[in-house]
Symmetry: C2
Subunit: 211 residues, 2 copies
């Protein structure tokens, strides 16, 4: 089972690594990190993630996963990446995104007429691509599955694991990565975070996005 | 604030990237990925993570984070790594581990006489290093903080964020990464997973560990 995860400059690492940690444990899975220009891709905080193959080496993955990050902004106008997404989606079993990866699926035309989600701060942007923004953690529309911000990719990947290999395998992966979440606060969504915290984060995102 | 995360061959990516995604968002944080031999380090499933600096370049980080993975087995006898952990711990504000990273803290002598945790499948091994194994998600013993398996590093890092920068900043980071977990199953701990799932995972771990 070929799984392709797109890498690029200014990716958010956890968008890719959360699902990777789940999907790479699926029996028979082969996860391939692909990029327009293979090599080391840096996050905004300097971590380097390595892609080994160019997009054209994996034109028809069974599962396509597009992570997010501030780097998606420029990729929304990057024809080779959008062409690859379109081509891969035409043949895929599952086409998926985490966080602002959904904006790339949207720019490639994949989300037209579908319900979809992305990071809460970018949710309304989905309308630009003809999608209906939905404030849910994982949104399933046939073979197109979008997840909310960053950490939601772990939950999405467990959904995918159950769909691909059954509930027991998905539960075994959950236990392997000891995913029994216990955050010290309950502030992980727009609905739950205190207003002053929401304001703080909106400010940080606005500054980072303008760099 | 200098934060050093140790990389090595056969690391579990999420052990490092979960906390990285939280800690790198702390105001004033500088996360540095260090290794005995800087360069690309491969997980068991082929992903490459890049460390840019040798251990000796960051001898006294304020925060030391040791992730886990099958690669920790050989590092338990790797003097330069253990010496670095000891030296860093002597001067650190916080000495932390995720998953089997705790076994490296143990091998370096850091856990002697302390309560500590690690991945559930390796918990009893902590006794070899004079620690008291505790089946909790995050165990705080003064400045030494250990987390359970893989995904628990995200929860631990939010604890660290609150301790270092206050509750509002920790909540802001939680909202930034939209960490409002909603796994489709409740099988993420030894106590919660069905017995047949536990058996399945023990088999997979035994096979992987013997490679």
């Amino acid at each position: 089972m070929d799984i392709a995860i797109l890498l690029f400059e200014r990716i958010t690492a956890l968008d890719a690594i959360g699902p990777y940690e789940v999907l790479s444990r699926l029996p028979g899975a082969r996860v391939r990190f692909v990029a327009e220009k293979p090599g080391t891709h840096r996050t905004d905080c300097g971590l380097g993630l390595v892609s080994d193959e160019p997009l054209e080496a994996v034109p028809r993955p069974e599962i396509l996963l597009v992570p997010g990050g501030f780097g998606t902004r420029s990729l929304e106008r990057e024809a080779p990446v959008l062409d690859w997404i379109r081509g891969a989606h035409a043949a895929s079993t599952l086409t998926t995104s985490v966080c602002t990866g959904a904006l790339l699926l949207g720019a490639a035309g994949v989300l037209r007429g579908l319900r979809a989600t992305t990071h809460w701060a970018q949710l309304e942007r989905l309308r630009e691509f003809g999608a209906e923004p939905v404030s849910e953690r994982v949104v399933v529309q046939g073979k197109v599955i979008t997840a909310a911000g960053v950490s939601s990719g772990i939950d999405m990947a467990l959904h995918l694991a159950a769909r691909l290999a059954g509930d027991s395998v998905a539960q075994a992966i959950q236990l392997s990565i000891e995913y029994d979440p216990a955050p010290p606060f309950d502030a992980g969504s727009l609905a739950k975070a205190p207003p002053e915290v929401v304001k703080l984060v909106r400010g940080v995102i606005a500054r980072a996005g303008s760099q």
